[in-house]
Amino acid sequence: MAFPLQRGITPPEISFLAEMEMVTIVPRQRLEGLELLGGPVEPLVPPRRTTVPLWLASLLKRQRRANILPPPWLHPESLSLILDIETQHQDYQHAFSPPPPLPGQPRLRDRGRKPNARPRYTPEGQRYYPTPPFLPQNVAQDQSFDNGEPPTLPFHWLEVGTMLLDVASDDVVDPDQTRRLLKELREVRSAKIRSGVDVLDVAAVAGGGVALTGVGAMEIGEGRGFIGGVVDGLRRIGASKEQARREQLAAAANGEYDATQDYDDDMEF
């Protein structure tokens, strides 16, 4: 192959993207506010907490100008709880532990409730619902998870966790234990990705899909080539059957509906 990199993005690129995550720091020195393309950074006044992008936080940490407050999920207690969910909980034998709830999404406990997300508006007046990576999922919280909510892994958990352990291991509670738990979590989850091949044939037919809810960015990046290859292979093998199915559908639908009705179920969530 002429181009040395494979399709998709490489792990360093993914962790570069993860550096945009906001984290909480406690500055040790004063710093005036910065006007950055990604948004302004508040003036740093010790000892007031502020949220800054991870890249800036790690820079300040390296220069010993700030301490990073690790996010609530990066704590041995939370991680071992999540690990328990991943390995012991019946509902999650073959699924990933749930991601943090989106704003307005009902909590895990009252699952029956309807989501009541409040839309936000862009400067042009277009409506949107913020989703990760544009949600602060890695900031320290005061009432961490004592409200009965199980801790959840954010989208960039592996990258943020590894980077924080790298630059700010003295700020993390029990870094060795945390590192071990992160590694264990990663192994459990990558085994799940690999055993998930069984459901991939659903994705190979039209209108099918596979839920990747709760899968982290690095895990997607790692599995992208393999999963894509499997789905493509299954699609090729099933192409003739799919063709026959479509012809049948078209014949059945002829006269009653348009041919577009095949695609109706694609639109539902």
């Binding site: 190979a204 003739s240 059957k241």
Partner: protein, 178 residues
């Protein structure tokens, strides 16, 4: 499938058993005796691209020149073996581009059951490939038999899975670069 793709060219060259329906003058060269005629009812293995072209003559209103058969790599016997245990069959020995060949053959024949068997085979073997790619046991560990029997598509899959796992390990600092 692109025009210059080596694998699809190689797939085109795979042999397919064909039976001639008509006498063809001067085509004895295919049988190995140049200058002779080919008689109706002769069975010859022809490359996929040639057999395909000769067999679809029926569409043009003329009677078809050859009838195709399913190649031995996709025979009932192999299908039964794949149904029994997909992991023990040496696909590479059957055809180096096994899945591409079956893909082409399935375009010519309508075999719903074969599609199901092959999809299942591919899935089962892909799971095994992923495990081997993530925990390589070297060239002498167990599973060598299996890895040697991978067809070209599966080898690419193995390579992709192995490379991305390695890249991630390098990023995490668990493995050395190169």
């Amino acid at each position: 499938m692109s025009y210059y793709e080596v694998d699809s060219i190689l797939t085109d060259a795979q042999k397919l058993p064909c039976t001639f329906e008509l006498d063809v003058p001067g085509l004895g060269i295919l049988e190995g005796n140049p200058g002779e005629n080919i008689k109706a009812g002769t069975r010859i293995d022809l490359p996929l691209w040639l057999g395909e072209m000769l067999s679809i003559g029926a569409r043009l209103g003329t009677s078809r020149l050859v009838t195709l058969d399913i190649p031995s790599a996709l025979s009932e016997r192999v299908m039964n073996a794949l149904k029994a245990d997909p992991r023990t069959v040496d696909l590479r020995a059957l055809a180096p581009n096994y899945y591409r060949l079956s893909e082409r053959v399935l375009e010519l024949f309508e075999e719903e059951e074969m599609v199901d068997t092959l999809s299942n085979t591919f899935k089962k073997r892909a799971a095994e490939i992923a495990d081997h790619a993530h925990n390589p046991k070297g060239a002498l560990g167990d599973g060598v038999e299996f890895l040697r029997g991978l067809d070209e598509t599966e080898r690419q899959l193995f390579r992709v899975a192995h490379d991305s796992a390695k890249e991630t390990r390098i990023w995490a600092g668990e493995a050395k670069k190169r």
